[in-house]
């Protein structure tokens, strides 16, 4: 545990990010995910249109992509390498999710929320070369998962 804290401190130092108070709690073992009031930094995708109801065809396509590109690190209902994503659409706006998939490095370097998460998980999410259409389908799949977990 001591090592994780040291490492987290190092990461914070190196990045200079995560301006939120709760970050330290995160490092000490509690999810930093709750601390998400910071200003978002979206560069690639500024706005995502989402319909009130989930498109089942898109969600199915998204599930297939999720299986191949995401499940090595994310489960829906428990923490794995990265955070559980079953309720991510309840925590984050669609723009955040799209940018995290498509513009991963920029988000890691600039987005306050992501920098705080990094202190908990200590792994930079890899860019998995997903194209915009597939990313949108993944978002739809995550919306469906979110609806099922309301």
């Amino acid at each position: 545990m001591k090592r994780i804290i040291t490492l987290a401190a190092f990461v914070a130092l190196a990045l200079g990010g995560c301006s939120q108070q709760k970050a330290e709690e995160g490092a000490a073992g509690q999810p930093a995910e709750e601390a998400t009031k910071a200003k978002p930094s979206y560069y690639k995708i500024q706005h995502v249109d989402v319909a009130p109801t989930v498109d089942p065809v898109m969600a199915k396509a998204g599930a297939d992509i999720f299986d191949v590109k995401c499940t090595a690190c994310h489960k829906l209902d428990e923490r794995y390498v990265g955070p559980a994503l079953g309720q991510v659409t309840q925590r984050r706006p669609p723009e955040y999710i799209m940018n995290m998939i498509l513009d991963t490095e920029t988000m890691i370097n600039n987005d306050d929320t992501v920098q705080c998460l990094l202190q908990t998980y200590l792994l930079k999410m890899p860019n998995q070369s997903v194209d915009e259409k597939d990313a949108r389908n993944v978002l739809e799949f995550l919306r469906k998962a979110g609806d099922e977990r309301k």
Binding site: L7, V11, D67, V68, K69, T71, A72, C73, V81, T104, L122, L123, K124, P126, N127, Q128, S129, V130
Partner: protein, 649 residues
Amino acid sequence: MKRIRSLTAAMALSLFALIISGCSEGDKAHIGAAGDAAARVYVAPGKYDEFYNFVSGGFSGQLAVYGLPSGRLFRVIPVFSVDPEKGWGFSEETKPMLNTSHGFIPWDDFHHPELSMSDGSPDGKWIFGNANNTPRVARIDLSDMRTKEIIELPNSSGNHSSPFTTENSEYVVAGTRFSLPVPNQDVSIASYKENFKGTISFIKVDKTTGAMDLSFQILVPGFDYDLAHAGKGPSHDWMFFSCYNSEQANTMLEANASQNDKDFIAAINWKKCEEYVAQGKGKKIDAKYAHNVFNDKTQMASSEIKNGVTILTPAECPGIIYYMPTPKSPHGCDVDPSGELIVGGGKLATVIPVMSYSKMIASIEAKKFDKEIDGIPVLNYKDCLAGEVKKPGLGPLHTEFDGKGNAYTSMFVSSEIVKWSLKDFKVLDRAPTYYSIGHLCIPGGDSKKPWGKYVIAYNKITKDRFLPTGPELTQSAQLYDISGEKMKLLLDFPTIGEPHYAQALPAELIQSKQVKVFQLKDNNHPYVTRSEKDCRVERKGNEVHIYATAIRSHFKPDNIEGVKVGDVVYWHITNLEQDWDVPHGFAVIGNNNSELLIMPGETLTLKWEPKYPGIHPFYCTDFCSALHQEMQGYVRVSAAGSNAPLTHN
């Protein structure tokens, strides 16, 4: 002591200069580097070099990739020798690449890289390389800097005059330095003159895919075919080969092959050869050779043993080959950017002979032949001569061109580069090299349009130039600025193995084409695992196939039980990453094999035969993330014949 030694060296050097240049007063300024050299080779952190420099590794069997002007080493591309670091020749996917008609060979001697050409200029598609010992030609893809194809050459040995390409890389050529009975057979070595022949091979290259095919071989007298370069422009249809040992000696060649005053440059009209082959004038003979191809789609190599090659005999195919007499035991054979001048590096000659293509053609048309050797007309030296560079130095070897009317010849014995004019063949400048230069290279310096900014010397001996490392010292490259009238030494840098020839081209020709990751969706490896949910372990008799994945920072599965002593275990590991520069490594305890180094989107297979029951850890060998140290797993190995069921998580 050190000072005494360098003083002696300096004295010896000035003595040399005195002897050679007939008193050009051993210019002290040339001994060290130019005053602003540091600034001129400095590439600031994070900035890129201007040129890629591909340097043969010689007896390392590999190809090194440097940046110029910095001399920084970026990559060693495994070609003819195994490389445990990259799993080359150790992974199941790459083992077939090193197969030959003699079986698997883990080493060879790589002398000459040659960039593929379009209209006589490097096009940045491929680079070819020769194996000197067990004759082969390799093709390396410049978009991912990996060896994609290796073709063996039957009826050949000492594959030295290779792999030079024609003006549009229609063909890659290869000639025998060591002649042999063709086909090879059990005869007395003393019957050399009667039984030994040389062959010149032409390998067709597919314009789009680069795929190589052994098109035909020309059966030639048993001389030593040493180096080659293609014609260009007016001489497009021709290929030129230097050869020595016209004495056909089979012992103590250093004396016995140095008798004749002149040997030859063989001029071969490959267009004419094509016509004869098309007319069925070639004779098909049995000849076994391996042809190894790496398939990008399946990420697997395969090796096929082929049989049969078409042979053209000069006596039956008039007009395909002529000998131009050339003094004396020529080594280099270099064609100037215009395609008119052919420079022979007569390593024992006192001049550098420059032959004229147009005069050669005029002689051929006028049928002015001195004699014939085995049906090959021998032209007259003077009739074909454009001019001679007088008193160039000692031991001229190779010549490159700057595209501004100048030639640069390496002088092995007198350790220098000599710059001379293509107009009047007068020596313009000379610069010492440290020491014993072999090849030299100007970016595009053997092409139609050289980028004549630098010349690089590749030296055999470094003696006192670097910190000593026991009896075996590094060999070196030296970078000279040739933008002005005088050559200026800028930098020494060490090289891998023994550098022979090298090629260089502007970075922008290939930099933007670099493959960053292999697309998982295009990975058609028969043992690919595209998703963690597909990970599995299967038994087929005593074979165990582990379908595993790697992503920052875990393997899946990472606990496997039920493997038994006597099993042959194949780890098929797919790197699920799709981001640049995120390889994962793999190694398992006690494996009599190398590691795997798996690029994003790639699948590689490691064979493992555990010997003892017990727990066998495995781990990632490439520091992949902050949790890299956690990237580990266990295999439980049970005794042979145990009933342990195969399980995994």
